[in-house]
Amino acid sequence: MKKLGVPIGVLVILVWCLLPVVWIISLSFKSEESVTAGNPGFLPSDGTNAGWDNYNKVLTDDLYDFFPRAIINSIGISLIATTLSVIVATLAAYAIARLEFKGKKLVLTMSLAIAMFPVVSLIGPLFDMWRTFGIYDTWLGLIIPYMSFTLPLAIWTLSAFFREIPWEMEQAAQVDGATSWQAFRKVIVPLAAPGVFTAAILTFFFAWNDFVFGISLTSTESARPIPASLAFFVGADPFNRPASLLAAAAVISTIPIIIIVLLFQRKIVAGLTSGAVKG
């Protein structure tokens, strides 16, 4: 009984977590009519199986031509926001971890305060400001808030990683003839790579999953990201949301995230610094 406890617990948690995922995948393969009619069964069967129709429709149908565009928007905006955020955070975190300067505490407290600030309360002012600046409904209009809200977390994560790297590494590099910048780029950043990729994944998640900014700061498909665009799916009958099409779109929108995580995860190897120093 004792031996069975753990596997059963794991199984329960797995089912609990994965059932909705399985459900949405299965839903995306069912025909619209069968869902509208109700009770289509858990798995797509003879009468209800729509094959790849829903996916085709979402990606090619004129009615949903905003969706492929939304995918491009989401990928572009999230990647740019992630890249910029990680670059800025790396430099900032290095300064915080290594340098003594006035206002260091202020920077840290400020960044923490930003992270805690409720996003929703900023939407109104941002909406007004962005329209005045002319960046409302543009990529830039979304990249800026994504960056500013992910930076604090990225800075805190990275400065923790930088503190772990022994000072001697850098001093050795300097004695070996490196400038401060070379020491940073060739020794410190490679060693902090797990931290950099952790920060990148977190930032990318935030940008990819965001709905509030996406829906409020865009008005057309020129910058609308996937989560916001899902709200614009309407079928032939306005009172019946095309559930199977939404499911297909949702599945499509998770694919890039899975790819990114798989790519980055390999870089997040623990114990990369082992062997640097004795111990």
Partner: protein, 419 residues
């Protein structure tokens, strides 16, 4: 290659504490210089000032012909081996060794040739493609040395490079470093707290205490002519015995009896009341194993041996004695400076392996009285040192810390310039 000249180097930290205080050392071109002292004596700080990782508060640091006080580490062309090696864990052994060359913009052919050469010297050939994390301590140590020798640096700096190795490996690497330095003939500054390393490796040894240079001399000079109590107690293992002594004429009154010392030594100690006598353990012997002619050159006394440690080739015998209270305070202070514990006052005597003295025996012990040093208990100064064979005597050692009441080391005949 270049000589390194330190002139009146001072390092003060933010709180005004002088970690290195007015130290002047000349390291000749190709010389192997050791900086030694207990922890916190400023030896590592001094090394880091040479390489440029610490700012110099005042004084001049000259390498070759250049004053390098304000140069960045990378502009000083020195190679350093860190205590914890500081290898780059994301690079292979090959790339670790090649790192300085790549920074200097060397061609691939040159990099390859030099790295292969270094790896051959250090027997790292089969490890070139491995990462430092997979290497043993000794191999990591060799990679760190490889990174240093691959460059044409003006000098090598070692910061306690062997302290992380086990005893056997330490011995091997010590010989290896000595061999390498002799072959390359490169100026070397080596920091250690291990006196075996200090004695065996160095052409000259600088002994530091609390940021102040105590004595700068060859290992032999340090051992035979320590200028003060601190150096005498620091150099030598087991350490020198310190006993309360009174001199009258040519006779020295020691706790276990009177011995006669040479006239020149006695004259140097005239007019002082209580002194501290320093006798190295090997200057004692079991009188029964000596032949008659040897015995005449010294004195003998009888003492009860407390503990005997027989090592085969020799034996250490411990003889407890009652110390004079005035001297005891001074000796306790010295013990603290040497990072030891103040234990019972006892005499450590090194005996010949053939000696049959057992624990609890009352034995007749011979002492080579010509080798006795006499120290002034107030200043710690060695009154009987042969100053012509004591290396460079640092000036005004007492001036640096005049407020210290417990009797700072004093070089004696130094001319005090600052007062």
């Amino acid at each position: 290659m270049a000589a390194i000249t330190m002139q009146n180097i001072v390092k003060k930290y933010g709180d005004g504490f002088p970690a290195v205080n007015d130290v002047s050392i000349d390291v000749a071109d190709g010389e192997f210089m050791i900086l030694v002292g207990p922890s916190g004596c400023g030896k590592s700080t001094l090394l880091r000032m040479i390489v440029g990782l610490e700012d110099i508060t005042s004084g001049d640091m000259v390498i070759g012909e250049r004053k390098v006080n304000d140069l960045a580490p990378r502009d000083r062309n020195l190679a350093m081996v860190f205590q914890n090696y500081a290898l780059y864990p994301h690079l292979t052994v090959y790339e670790n060794i090649a790192f300085p060359l790549r920074l200097a913009g060397a061609s691939q052919a040159e990099v390859d040739q030099k790295v292969r050469e270094a790896s051959k010297t250090l027997e790292l050939d089969e490890h070139l493609e491995r990462k430092p994390g997979n290497l043993s301590g000794g191999q990591r140590q060799r990679v760190a040395m490889g990174r240093a020798i691959v460059r044409d640096a003006d000098a090598f700096l070692f910061d306690e490079p062997l302290s992380n190795l086990d005893a056997k490996l330490r011995g091997q690497m010590r010989t290896e470093i000595a061999r390498l330095q002799k072959r390359l003939g490169i100026t070397t500054v080596y920091v250690t707290h291990d006196q075996t390393e200090a004695m065996t490796l160095g052409d000259r040894v600088a002994v530091l205490k609390r940021g102040i240079l105590q004595q700068l001399a060859t290992p032999r000079e340090l051992y035979e002519n320590p200028l003060n109590l601190f150096v005498a107690g620091f150099i030598g293992s087991p350490p020198m015995n310190f006993l309360p002594a009174k001199v009258s004429g040519n006779t020295v009154e020691l706790p276990f009896g009177n011995v006669t010392i040479p006239a020149d030594k006695a004259s140097a100690a005239q007019g002082k009341d209580l002194l501290i006598a320093g006798i190295r353990p090997e200057h004692f012997e079991d009188a029964s194993v000596l032949d008659a002619s040897a015995k005449t050159s010294g004195s003998t006394f009888r003492a009860t041996v407390d503990v005997v440690e027989w090592l085969g080739n020799e034996a250490y015998a411990y003889v407890p004695y009652e110390a004079h209270t005035d001297v005891e305070a001074q000796l306790n202070q010295l013990e603290k400076e040497l990072e030891g514990e103040s234990l019972r006052t006892q005499l450590v005597v090194s005996l010949d392996g053939a000696s049959r003295i057992k624990e609890g025996d009352e034995a007749e012990i011979w002492v080579n009285s010509a080798k006795i040093h006499l120290f002034d208990p107030e200043s710690g100064e060695n009154l009987t040192a042969d100053r012509s064979a004591a290396g460079t005597i640092p000036p005004d050692m007492d001036a640096a810390a005049p407020a210290e009441a417990e009797g700072e080391a004093d070089a004696g005949d130094a001319t005090d310039l600052t007062k």
